[in-house]
């Protein structure tokens, strides 16, 4: 792999753009697909919006964008139109059902899933012009460690890794964290365990991941990797119901166990990452 995904790596024309990871940008990512990443992004956005934050979710999963399906939104103008110059950025931003804003990728974005310098520049331009207008920007990235995912993650100040307790999901989450540490010198990765079978099982999983990282991943002595357990989202039949109805859990049944867990996740992010709204 080359240095394409390092946030500071230099394609000359990116030099005038911010070199530090952008503030208030949280990448929601996972090692494996199908662990509920988009579900978490959308509902977390709704929970943060409910707490008074101005939130934007950006569909950064160019290969397999699903945010439109989760939100049941099929807009005429998407990120794709912005990329092709057919629409202005502000016209592609829509209000989503949960009281937040959303920028959907659009089906044509697969053409851009190969990360050329032009795509990088355009992405960076779009995100840096959006950030000042929101309290928090969530990047709903793809799974794994493709160039686009790593690039999207490199733009974020925080990483929220979604994993389920299944062995394959854990292995892939662990492998992805290793890459984030190696390639991007990340020191902190926040973990949320989705589909936790019983209370407390998520924390056990995060601790386990931390132990394996400590034992097998070599870092500089003063730069240890720290996983922060942000919470468990329990297995809950209401989640399936909401997904099937293409509605946000935070709107249909915010009081169900999974909904409460997502509200707690929002509060925990507020305590540690996002300043409270004025």
């Amino acid at each position: 792999m080359n240095d394409v995904m390092s946030p500071t790596a230099g394609h000359p024309s990116t030099a005038k753009l911010p070199l530090k990871p952008l503030g208030k940008v949280i990448a929601v990512t996972s090692g494996k697909g199908g662990v509920g990443k988009t579900f978490v992004s959308a509902n977390l956005a709704a929970a943060l919006a409910k707490r008074g934050h101005k939130v934007l979710v950006l569909d950064a999963d160019l290969g397999l964008a699903n945010l439109d399906v989760v939100l049941n939104l099929y807009p005429k103008t998407t990120l794709h139109d912005v990329f092709t110059g057919k629409a202005k950025l502000e016209d592609a931003i829509l209000p989503a059902p949960g009281g937040f804003s959303v920028l959907l990728a659009g089906s044509g974005m697969v053409e851009y899933s190969r990360l050329t310098p032009e795509v990088r520049d355009e992405f960076l331009r779009i995100i840096s012009s959006l950030v000042p207008h929101y309290d928090v920007v969530l990047l709903d990235t793809g799974a794994g460690i493709s160039d686009v995912v790593l690039f999207a993650v490199s733009l974020a100040s925080e990483v929220l890794m979604v994993a389920t307790p299944e062995p394959t999901s854990l292995t892939d989450a662990y492998a992805t964290i290793k890459v984030l540490v190696g390639q991007q010198q990340r020191q902190i990765v926040r973990v949320v365990v989705n589909q936790a079978s019983r209370p407390g099982s998520g924390l056990t999983i995060t601790n386990q991941l931390q132990q394996v990282l400590d034992r097998f991943v070599v870092t500089e002595p003063d730069r240890p990797i720290r996983l922060i357990h942000m919470g468990d989202i329990p297995v809950d039949p209401e989640v399936r119901q909401a997904i099937m109805r293409r509605q946000l859990l935070m709107q249909t049944t915010p009081g169900c166990p999974a909904g409460v867990a997502i509200s707690q996740l929002a509060r925990k992010l507020e305590e540690s990452v996002i300043p409270k709204p004025a």
Binding site: M1, G31, K32, G33, G63, L64, V110, E111, S113, R114, G142, A143, G144, I145, S146, P167, L170, T171, D172, Y174, A175, T176, S201, T204, I205, N207, Q208, L209, Q211, V212, R215, F216
Partner: protein, 265 residues
Amino acid sequence: MAPLTLSPQIDLQDLQLDDARALLKHDAKEIQQEAEESPTGYLQRVIDGLCEISLKDPLTGLGNRRHLRSILERSIETVARSGESVLLLLLDIDHFKSINDTYGHQAGDQVLQAIANCLADCVRPMDTVVRYGGEEFAVILPHCPPLFGRAVAERIRQTVASLSIPVSPLINVQATISIGGAYAPEWVRSTADLWIERADQQLYRAKSSGRNQVCLDQPRELSVSAEEKGLLFAHIATEEATMIRNLSGDAPLDLQGNATKRVNA
């Protein structure tokens, strides 16, 4: 089934079917209207025959480029959702022009046919072999884990290299192939063009580093060793042990769901 519109009786005499018949006959699929066969039934068979040959390469009998595209597009859909490993190989006969120049174009065709047959024999029934164009072939291998991809490609390369192809009663020709391969990106809906392009880049690499070799674009490895996995799943083992302990601590239930008396073993 009731027709949606009033279907006029087809009069085969009104249709210009001679060209279609000639094409099918040329492909050894002569289709004659059978006694008492309805015109619709007959036409359907002609259309099916045309569809079939439109996906085939006439010289080698393999699928053609059109067939490749439809298989690639279907694979992309599967991979995007299942994460299954699908490998595309592009194979090109080395120095094919010199075979043509030395032994003539007919010999060239015989080499193409022999290699086509060999490729078809090398792969599993679920795999697809097509002639991509000229002296280039493509193989699509579904359910092909990254570890096997190189082995399969290497076996194909060696089998072709070991062929001795008769091109005239006294002359046998040996040919080698270069192979470039790329996996469909997992969990991502890519395009057939991008996929072919990645395999083609590897083929170029195989050619430019001396031919008669295999170059694969490996999927980026999520490498986690057995030791790491052992420790990673330790909690699952502990959880199971706890569960078993809890279960054996409680009195097991009988078939009716009543607690049974524990007997000390």
